[in-house]
Amino acid sequence: MDEFLIGVLSNIGLMSLLALSAWLLLVVGEISFGQQAFFALGAYAAGIATALYGWPLPLGLFAGVVVGALAGFAVAIPTMRLTGLAFAIATLAFAELMRLLLQLWVFQREVDGERLGPNAVEGFRGVRWVYDHDLSALGYLGVIWGIVVVVLAALFLCERSRIGLACRAVGADAELAEAQGLPAARLKILVATVAGGLAALGGGLYVHLATYVEPQHFSIMLGVHALAYGLIGGLGTALGPILGVVLDIGLLEALQEIARYRMIVFGGAVAVLLILRPRGLLDEALVRRLTRGKP
């Protein structure tokens, strides 16, 4: 397979995890401008684990997920009493704080005669596990998409469970759901925790592909893209955010002749699409129609 294609497909998989993270919160009716912060935490934590302490990649990724989920939980507690725009801006404030603090954070160790680790604005270089273990680009693409498929399968199972139904009810109308006895606040905190872990998983995989990250990577641009992919693809199914990512990165990256104009074409297309389908391509109504009659 062409190297460039492998790179693009890897990016689609990584971005899908971040988009799924933003989408999860959209499902329970919250807009987050800050999922990039958990992506960053996952990247830093997993990178530190493998590059500085020599952990194997799976353990490093797991460490990233734990850090991301804990952070998601910790942020959810104070922000859950906010709604709408206030919640969105609180998540933005948290994410920018995280980015700015990473710009100050230096944590380096000597590894093999080389100083490695987060170095403030210079970023975190030398996360070379994939290269040191001679894992091919195609192999790593397999790892990324294997994980995406597992995550999707888990989300599909959840969707059919009682928790999934409860989340949808909270997303449709939190007050009504609460009146029916659903613990709306607790469900939202649970979802925010899972979303934090999911974004961190994406970040952990990303840093090992790129071999380096820097705080600038995690600006609001990244988070709002993830949010947009979630809505464009559709709120009805977990495949929605992936469709959103594929449409943007995949389709338009593939058409190299128009790559220079890609945001012009894509931006306009998204605006028109949202006029026609304000809840995305694969919205709840379409998903219901497609799955009707099945057990």
């Binding site: 009493r81 609001i220 641009m221 104009y261 894509f266 931006g267």
Partner: protein
């Protein structure tokens, strides 16, 4: 003490421009209950047009500001038609994401047409700073603050004394009643949207003229400053936007002086988070003026 006074003066100056940006968000949010993420990009388009007029046609300060305002309002019209008017009132998330997509689009157009890192913008004033009792005052910053203040006074007068202002306030507080009284909320919303873009363009022009340059990053910067200032003062409140803008300017300049440049934004965002938590993000009525 002298430092504190100097920082506060500097903060109030830039805070005036922040307040205009915050008003840009508040005006649209108040009437439409929707967030325009393309706001920064709209301002950027205006500024690039002003810089282009300056560079290619040799226009001076007033000409460039006029070009900035005209293009900002034109870009605003485009965004309003495509992302807000065309969507149902209930589709507020879709409108926000749609305006984000157009933000990307406008920024890409600006970068394609003018790909250099920086563009010169006519300077507001090149006069030397005035010194007085150990304090210094830059005339261009003073001019920026004065124009911002004038624009805010004019806005206040418009909202209180004109039929348009009355209708806008009616739509903001009681949309249904306003409709019954024969006011079309959509038309008021459009007008308010364009007014907000004009204010944003003015704020952008003032800041660019003080810096005498503009870069592609200005759009995102303006959007973040406007959002933060609006939220600090209480989402949706007009006096809140003004207070939030001034407060943000004063906090930033003091944090920068006492803690260092790298802590300036950390303090601002930390405070923003705390304010949201503390006030539970309550949205204040728009016309609490």
């Amino acid at each position: 003490m002298l430092d504190l006074i100097q920082n506060t003066i500097d903060g109030v100056m830039i805070g005036g421009a922040y307040a205009l940006l915050a008003l840009g968000f508040t005006l649209t949010f108040g009437v439409m209950r929707r967030l325009n993420l393309a706001f920064g990009a709209i301002v950027l388009c205006g500024l690039y047009a002003g810089a282009a007029a300056h560079q290619a046609l040799g226009w001076g300060l007033l000409g460039s500001i006029a070009a900035t305002l005209a293009v900002a309002v034109a870009a605003g019209l485009y965004v309003e038609r495509l992302c807000f008017r065309a969507l149902a009132e209930s589709a507020s998330i879709a409108a926000m994401v749609s305006s984000f997509a157009i933000w990307m689009q406008l920024e890409e157009i600006a970068a394609l047409l003018m790909p250099r890192r920086t563009y010169a913008y006519p300077a507001l004033s090149e006069a030397r700073p005035w010194e007085w009792a150990g304090l210094s005052l830059r005339p261009d910053q003073l001019a920026m603050a004065a124009v911002a203040l004038g624009a805010m006074a004019a806005l206040g007068w418009t909202l209180r004394r004109t039929r348009f202002g009355l209708a806008a306030r009616a739509v903001a507080t009681a949309p249904l009643a306003a409709r019954l009284a024969g006011i079309e909320p959509a038309r008021i919303g459009s007008a308010m949207f364009l007014l907000a873009c004009g204010l944003g363009g003015l704020a952008g022009a003032l800041i660019a003229a003080v810096d005498s340059q503009v870069t592609i990053k200005f759009g995102m910067w303006a959007m973040l400053k406007g959002l933060v200032a609006m939220t600090l003062g209480g989402i949706g409140s007009i006096p809140g936007a003004v207070i939030g803008g001034l407060a943000l300017g004063v906090i930033e300049s003091n944090a920068q002086w006492y803690l260092g440049a790298e802590w300036r934004d950390i303090v601002a965002y930390g405070l923003l988070f705390a304010v949201l938590y503390w006030r539970r993000g309550r949205e204040r009525p728009w016309t609490n003026s």
